[in-house]
């Protein structure tokens, strides 16, 4: 194993983490401001990917598709917020879980109805295709580097939005005291719709960006959703900073674990057993990480609890 391979793997982990952050940020924002647990967040990720693939297929332009994914996911988020979600704020978590679980069924089967059961085609834009050579001679796909850049830029934008804009002030007020912002004369229901649509747009963006690397198909959002849960539990629910740190931690742990564990087991086990056991353990690693964080800090790394 060379240092270069290790660096490349670390970059991969970073890129994976940054994409997880886009998912986790929306989830944590919605929970922080509205106190809502949204299982259907993964469906919005899927909506983004399908919108991007659909528009890119018709226009032949990835960037138009990307814009469409933002618009479609935000619109889907706003519609869902207006019709379903806003009836759930006053309910307990149980009702929220059930209603958003039902939304997953509606989104998944609805998408399958519209687009069929076959995976859609979405490819990386030609300008970003192929690898480039990094200092030190590492060949690394340009698109993945761009993803890291976009992810970090979105993170910076979110910090700015929450830290320095009027909307951000209201979001923070909403996190601190839900009753109080009504007293401040903020139109709460509009704020909630905007925050939900913002979270949805972030998920849709992630879906479209990742969709170009992966397979655009029904159900693609669910594994990511569960990872995003792990991220925000580790980072602390409601904390954007926690989501960023948690996401990168999960990305690195998962990527490096998958790579290093079989190697580590290989030092004392025959190769086929080592890869098999190593892979089994690697698939559980992030959950073990989560359990470890919980033992030390039940409220997550940046949680308030």
């Amino acid at each position: 194993m060379s240092a270069m391979l290790l660096i490349e793997q670390a970059l991969n982990g970073l890129q994976y983490g940054v994409m997880l952050f886009l998912m986790a940020a929306g989830l944590t924002l919605v929970f922080g401001v509205m106190g809502l647990i949204n299982l259907a967040h993964g469906s919005l990720y899927m909506v983004g990917a399908f919108a991007c693939a659909g528009v890119a297929a018709v226009t032949g332009n990835f960037w138009l598709g990307l814009a469409a994914s933002l618009a479609a996911a935000a619109a889907a988020g706003a519609i869902v917020e207006l019709t379903v979600i806003r009836r759930l704020y006053a309910r307990d978590h149980l009702d929220q879980v059930l209603a958003t679980f039902a939304l997953i069924l509606v989104f998944s089967e609805g998408t399958r109805w519209l687009f069929g059961s076959f995976p859609l085609y979405l490819d990386i834009p030609a300008a970003l295709a192929g690898p480039i050579t990094l200092p030190g001679g590492i060949e690394y796909p340009l698109y993945r580097l761009v993803l890291i850049g976009i992810g970090l830029a979105v993170a910076a934008g979110l910090f700015w939005l929450i830290g320095a804009t009027r909307l951000g002030v209201r979001i923070r007020a909403g996190e601190a005291d839900r009753e109080m912002i009504a007293a401040l004369g903020v139109d709460i229901s509009r704020l909630y719709t905007i925050v939900f649509a913002l979270g949805a747009a972030l998920a849709g963006l992630a879906g479209a960006l990742v969709g170009a690397l992966q397979s655009v198909q029904v159900g693609m959002g669910e594994p990511v959703l569960i990872l995003a849960f792990v991220v925000i539990v580790i980072g602390g629910i409601g904390s954007i900073k926690g989501a960023l740190v948690g996401a990168i931690l999960v990305g690195l742990t998962d990527t490096l674990g998958r790579f290093l564990l079989p190697v580590a087991f290989g030092t004392f086990l025959p190769p086929s057993e080592a890869t098999s056991i190593g892979a089994a353990l690697a698939s559980m690693l992030i959950y073990i990480l989560m359990a470890g964080v919980l033992v030390i800090r039940p409220g997550g790394l940046f949680g308030r609890a």
Partner: protein, 379 residues
Amino acid sequence: MNATKTLLAAAAALVTAGAALAEPIKVGMITTLSGGGASLGIDTRDGFMLAVQQAANPDLTVVIEDDQRKPDVAVQLADKLIQSEKVDVLTGIVWSNLAMAVVPAATAQGKFYLSTNAAPSALAGKGCNPNYFSVSYQNDNLHEAAGAYAATAGITKAFIMAPNYPAGKDSLTGFKRFYEGEVVGEVYTKLGQTDYAGEIAQIRASGADGVFIFLPGGMGISFVKQYADSGVGLPLIGPAFSFDQSIIQAMGDSAVGVLNGANWSPDLDNAANAAFVQAFSAEYGRLPSVYASYGYDTANLLLSAMGTADISDPDAFRAALKAADFDSVRGDFAFGPSNHPVQDLYVREVVRDGDILTNRIVGTAMEDRGNAYEGECKM
């Protein structure tokens, strides 16, 4: 749980006096029609029903149920089809784990099971049964084809990879069985994994001169796109599942040039196949996949047996099935001792044909291949 659609083949045609002599047969098809993986089940069903429609045999009734790719649902559907619908023959299951859940119990109750796809090693060896026929292959076959052909494709130092589950392990074993080169890397990935950057980095660093993968469904799409983008550029080979008609469109040009082991291809040169591809495309507006071809062959096998034996005489019907006296879209087709096909295995290449991607045969990997488990089958 069940998209129950009783389709009377030969719908309008009135039962003629001659046909009424034959014993009617009821077939229960359990396949995946909803959720992830539905495209495979839909192709299986469409292929099967195409043959049923063409035959227009009024004695054949088909009941189709959706297993949602859940083993427990499949088991309950099998119970329902056997207990309530009183079917004589079961078919249609796509996934090995579902087949393992359904087939032993069904054959133990004296029902016939004709596999349109899944054919796990346990059912080919110790668990074989006279009432169980695999029309498709034995699970290892397509991996074996890839392994046998790898050297021809210039792969002598292979990096091999599959998900960490039983079919994945079987696939790497199958590949290695006839592969004569060196394995420089062997990796098991998480089932359902969508990001392969880590594995691709390992491939790059391994010094391999070719890559074998078994990554069905969305996993394969993700890998191929990321692999093409990584610029590693080594030859890629796999079984047909990962590069079949239903998914290569989603891979786009990333898939062009990829080799895959198969026992059927749309361009396979025989009259039955040409007719099938033409009829399927006309009926459904898309090219058939391997699953559609297996479904089509299965229905034709069943119809051929119906023509010579009555289901009320299981021994005669079993013999009629075993004779495999039908025009397979794979050309020559015969059953081996454990009721699995003995057939030629090919290697295909993904090519672009105008607007669409499809597969083209580039060579024959093995001739008259049976399977590795025949010796264990005491039947």
